[in-house]
């Protein structure tokens, strides 16, 4: 068994889990919900094994570095972080319907890693700038934040679906979704969690940049976009804490914030140029 095979299985597993979660949402069948959770958990374990195995394989190839060094590896980790965050959320709030809005993100990330053009799957050695203990701290903190924001975006969509449907007489499948106030509360908590990790990610990145180049901040596009994302979520939290915004407005901000995350992650690598070009291939 190689790590690539495990990641292939993970991609299929998350596709199946997404289908099961969406089926649960549509047909309101309890069994499909339990199946979705089981498939997600098993796939998550396979993916975890895959990440560990890829790490081990890199040692066998004489490089020995954490599998967090390029676009492919970051996509796998992004998907992994979304799933572990979602599973904890499922246990904490005892609700499976959120899965229909979260696991598809994990599947998309894996599918893009596997089939996206210009994404190298090979394990490659670390260039000098990446040879640092800050690599793991920086990538892990950023992607835990990104994962939380992905789930917050999914919850934002869920909120908007439900609140739009509630205006109509026939609630249909939307009727089974959690109460609007519950979704609103989970969105808020998820954004708080993500914001803390994003802050930690920006800070670890700054410390790393200072130890590599002697500049903790250089307004490089990646840095600037991470700060733009930070501004958006900071404004969202202030709007809620001090001006009492909630509901639809926060749901939209969760979606807008995640678009900014996506641009920080992909847009900067593919559309803009800068110091942070390692993730490009």
């Amino acid at each position: 068994m190689t790590s690539s095979q495990l990641f292939g299985i993970s991609t299929l597993g998350y596709l199946l889990a997404s289908a099961l979660y969406i089926a649960t949402l549509i047909f309101k069948t309890k069994k499909s919900g339990i199946a979705a959770s089981i498939v997600t958990l098993i796939t998550f374990l396979a993916q975890t094994a895959g990440i560990g195995l890829r790490w081990y394989e890199s040692y066998n190839m004489g490089m020995g570095h954490a599998p967090l060094s390029n676009m492919y590896e970051s996509l796998v980790f992004f998907s992994w972080a979304i799933v572990i965050f979602y599973l904890l959320l499922e246990v904490k709030f005892n609700n499976r319907l959120i899965g229909a809005f979260a696991i598809p993100f994990a599947f998309t990330s894996m599918a893009y890693a596997s089939f996206g053009t210009g994404i190298t799957q090979e394990i490659s050695p670390l260039i000098p700038a990446l040879q640092s203990n800050w690599l793991i701290a920086h990538v892990v903190t950023c992607f835990i934040g990104y994962a939380a924001f992905a789930v917050a975006c999914g919850l934002g969509c869920m909120y908007l679906m439900k609140s739009t449907a509630e205006d109509k007489p026939d609630a249909g499948l939307i009727g089974t979704l959690p109460d609007l106030s519950v979704i609103d509360d989970i969105i808020h908590k998820t954004i708080i969690f993500g914001f803390l990790w994003l802050s930690a990610g920006i800070i670890t990145g700054a410390i790393w940049a200072n130890s590599a180049w002697g500049t903790y901040w250089s307004w490089d596009p990646k840095e600037t976009w991470s700060l733009i994302t930070w501004f958006i979520y900071a404004a969202t939290l202030h709007a809620r804490f001090t001006r009492g915004w909630q509901g639809k407005r926060i749901a939209w901000l969760a979606i807008i914030g995640f678009l900014s995350v996506i641009f920080t992650y992909f847009g900067v690598n593919f559309l803009l140029s800068g110091l942070h070009s390692y993730g490009g291939s």
Partner: protein, 445 residues
């Protein structure tokens, strides 16, 4: 006059303004990620046309993050944060230090959660038991006689109300650190050829050069590659010289700089000259000499009857490493040409003599030099921000009051609680105290 001052003050004390400034900063920051920064002027003319380029020049777009308007936005945010903090902190501080034993008794019954228990034991005994229930659950109670009854009060984390101000202060500390860095520090660059030293660096900001007050020597620069040709390591063996004497040596690589007297030297780039450093030692006389040579030329050792040169080169099995074919001639005649790999040392045997011959490609190392006395303030600010965020998001100020009063022939025990955040978690804490108290008040002994 004071009216005018008040209106400016309340303008900056408004949260609406914070939201607006954050929004403006987010939008403005995008510009510099789309339009290239710090490019030569003709680049803008070529890419955006004459008129746009002139407009960019007027608005400082080519260096927008240092422009007057962007810096003004940052100052606006800092002012906003400061004034909002000054405005709100006194009230919050009052909540942190206030005497909760002076709380209005009538308010206790209206708090959520609150619960009244009637018991037949004496008020004094009930107070003892209430204190025990609180202590069991980790609440340390103070008490005071109030309105012919007894009021007990216990709290956790009053200081956590300051979390949000820790975060706001941390941003100001980071700003202060970056200003200290830009006023009292500098960033520069120096290219030092191997075996040479320098006491001067070029600044990035104004192309001025400044004296370091000591010398930096590059003893050796080595470049290694991975099998696939990608660079593996840039390494400079550096030494600091004070009055010509070595006081510190360090081998630096990217991510592991050398610091000395407030200056930090970062491995940044290198330059190749298509020249070679040769160290030649006559092992009998122990005479040694260092040569900087070019390929294809005859090199003579002054005052000695020795000359040598590079004939050609070949790549070794390790990609991107070369070996060189060398000829050497001394008083005993011409030696058999020999091969030496870049960076290696070999012994050349002659009739009754031998030489130690070392060769490596000649490089200069490019070092970024930074003096930033503000960086520790920035790091303190970052630490404060993370701690503050955790306090502000996850910790809360939780308070429990117990008021005990004689009511006819019974004793009324009113337990009330209050939290500023995370009500569900607090309700669990409260319930635990309530349950324990309920049990204790039922037993008669």
């Amino acid at each position: 006059m004071s009216n005018k001052k008040n209106s400016i003050w309340s303008f900056f004390a408004s949260v609406k303004l914070v939201l607006f400034v954050l929004f403006l900063l987010a939008i403005a920051s995008v510009i510099g990620t789309v339009i290239p920064q710090k490019s030569p002027p003709d680049v803008y003319v070529r890419e955006f046309g004459e008129n746009m380029a002139r407009l960019f020049q007027i608005l400082d777009i080519p260096d927008m993050y240092n422009s007057w308007w962007f810096v003004s936005l940052l100052i606006m945010l800092a002012l906003n944060l400061t004034i909002c903090t000054i405005e709100r902190l006194p009230n919050v501080w009052r909540l942190v230090v206030q005497d909760n034993l002076a709380t209005d008794i009538d308010r206790l019954a209206t708090m959520r959660p609150s619960k009244e228990i009637l018991s037949s034991i004496s008020p004094e005994e009930a107070a003892n038991r209430a204190r025990a229930s609180l202590a069991e659950n980790g609440w340390k109670a103070k008490e005071v006689p109030r309105d012919s009854g007894i009021l007990l009060f216990a709290q956790k984390g009053p200081w956590t109300r300051l979390g949000v101000y820790m975060v706001h202060t941390s941003i100001l500390v980071i700003f202060a650190g970056s200003m200290i860095g830009s006023h009292f520090g500098y960033k520069g660059f120096v290219m030092i050829p191997e075996t040479r030293s320098t006491d001067t660096i070029e600044l990035f900001s104004n192309e001025e050069s400044i004296k370091l007050g000591f010398e930096v020597l590059c003893k050796r620069f080595t470049l290694t590659h991975y099998a696939n040709g990608a660079p593996k390591e840039f390494r400079s063996d550096l030494a600091i010289l004070e009055d010509g004497k070595e006081v510190l040596t360090k081998s630096i690589v990217v991510n592991d700089p050398l610091s000395y007297k407030g200056h930090t030297f970062y491995q940044s780039s290198y330059q190749s000259y298509k020249k070679f450093l040769v160290s030649l030692t006559d092992n009998q006389t122990k005479h040694a000499e260092l040569f900087l040579i070019e390929p294809g030329k005859e090199i003579k050792w002054p005052d000695k009857d020795v000359s040598f040169g590079i004939i050609n080169r070949e790549m070794t099995e390790t990609p991107l490493r070369f070996k060189y074919k060398i000829w050497l001639k001394d008083s005993t005649g011409v030696a058999e040409p020999f091969w030496i790999t870049d960076g290696d040392t070999t012994i050349v045997k002659r009739d009754g003599k031998d030489y130690t011959f070392a060769l490596k490609e000649f490089f200069a190392t490019g070092l970024q030099v930074t003096k930033d006395p503000g960086v520790w303030y920035v790091y303190i600010g970052c630490t404060l921000m993370l701690l503050g965020l955790m306090v502000a998001f996850f910790l809360s100020h939780r308070r429990i009051w117990v008021y005990i009063k004689k009511e006819d022939d019974k004793t009324s025990v009113l337990i009330s609680g209050n939290t500023n955040k995370n009500r569900p978690a607090f309700e669990k804490n409260f319930e635990a105290v309530n349950r324990s108290l309920d049990e204790k008040l039922k037993s008669h002994s």
